[in-house]
């Protein structure tokens, strides 16, 4: 089963939740993989302290015009669905930030003057943290497209195991890429007006993708949580867990420790959350 932990915005405690779920599932003896695909700022490793066993640079193929005579015919541009290649009289201008690496332009070019060259986008790491299998991806600074890297990390998850995925916050293409292949989604939120607004969008994204989502309310006493609760009730979105602010948690997070190791009530709360996530779903989906 693949459980994706996401949030409408950053800083809501998504990594706190995902690292604890993975850690406690591994403590139960389950075969579990933690995959951090919050590739702009992968933080899970700070808390799980994995031993990295393999590291690899991920590349995508970009079209390029190394030599040969481009006729400026524009066939490549007409083919490209992403407007990523612009024909000029005797050359082409390629926009890597728009290119989806399909290779189509290279294949359709009549004089066959385009070729594909590898372009590095980021680093994928594999390792172990105790019983836990650890995966993360970090996109290179300035690299405009992170989705290929996210897909690469997800591809390395073994089928048939429990996977906990730490998704990029928000509702961007990156979040969408992280949701692909999910069986269930947990959205971590806080009871603030901004939190609610972003949660709404994230929920919409899950619904569009046909994914059942539950909510975790972090720091539930931080603001007035009534609008949030009312919204979730009206939308029939289950609250899987809710907990108060505890300075002990903040201290553990600041030190890069798993808070559940030193805050017993929090460990219990996540154990319950894990039970809820592993239980068959109300609507009959498993």
């Amino acid at each position: 089963m693949r459980l994706v932990v996401a949030s409408g915005k950053g800083g809501t405690g998504k990594t706190l939740v995902s690292t604890h779920l993975a850690w406690l599932a591994a403590e139960r003896g389950l075969d579990v993989t933690y995959a951090d695909v919050d590739v702009e700022t992968p933080n899970g490793h700070l808390f799980l302290a994995p031993v990295v066993e393999r590291e690899h640079r991920h590349t995508v193929l970009l079209p390029s015009l190394p030599f040969g005579h481009c006729t400026g015919c524009g066939v490549c541009h007409d083919f490209c669905q992403y407007n990523a290649i612009l024909p000029l009289p005797d050359s082409v201008l390629i926009f890597p930030e728009l290119c989806h690496n399909c290779g189509g332009c290279v294949r359709v070019c009549p004089p066959a003057v385009l070729s594909e060259v590898p372009h590095e986008v980021g680093t994928v790491r594999e390792g172990r943290a105790g019983n836990l299998r650890f995966l993360d991806g970090r996109v290179d600074v300035g690299e405009p497209r992170a989705t290929p890297l996210i897909q690469e990390v997800l591809r390395r998850i073994d089928a048939g195991t429990l996977a906990v995925v730490d998704a990029p916050p928000g509702t961007s293409c990156n979040t969408t890429a992280a949701l692909s292949g999910a069986d269930r989604v947990l959205l971590v939120t806080e009871p603030t007006p901004f939190g609610l607004h972003d949660l709404r969008l994230a929920l919409q994204l899950c619904r569009t993708a046909g994914l059942p989502a539950g909510v975790v309310i972090n720091r539930a006493d931080l603001g007035d949580d009534r609008p949030l609760r009312a919204f979730l009730e009206a939308e029939r979105v289950p609250v899987r867990a809710a907990w108060r602010y505890d300075p002990e948690l903040a201290v553990a997070v600041a030190r890069g420790e798993l808070a559940g190791r030193r805050v017993p009530w929090f460990r219990d709360a996540v154990e319950h959350l894990l039970d809820a996530c592993l239980a068959p779903q109300e609507d009959g989906r498993s």
Binding site: G74, H77, N83, L86, P87, L88, L93, F95
Partner: protein, 119 residues
Amino acid sequence: MNGRLAVPVRDGVGLQARLDRQLGRAAAFVVVDLDGSVEPVYLINEGVQAEQGAGIGAAALLLQHGVTAVAAEHFGPKAEQALRAGGAALYTAPGGLTVAEVLERFRAGTLVRHELKVY
């Protein structure tokens, strides 16, 4: 005067159409032949709905039609890069002008050249 001037427009066709705000998201373009040998051409911006790269699509369309100068209120960064690569000169024109007014200023040399930003 040689070359072709393109202007992104909304409401209206010919020279009375008004300047649209941004190139990639403009409804259409009017392309004016500067030596007057060809009637102005009206091009629908079919790429306006593109999820991304609308500016590049627009630039490709204009370059295909032999445009050598473009006047707009705003240029998106990609449209700008694409048009410059295609050798077009870029000018900033205040929004709300008609194509005829833009053309008049262009001929009088009072349109401001849109300089390359160096970051």
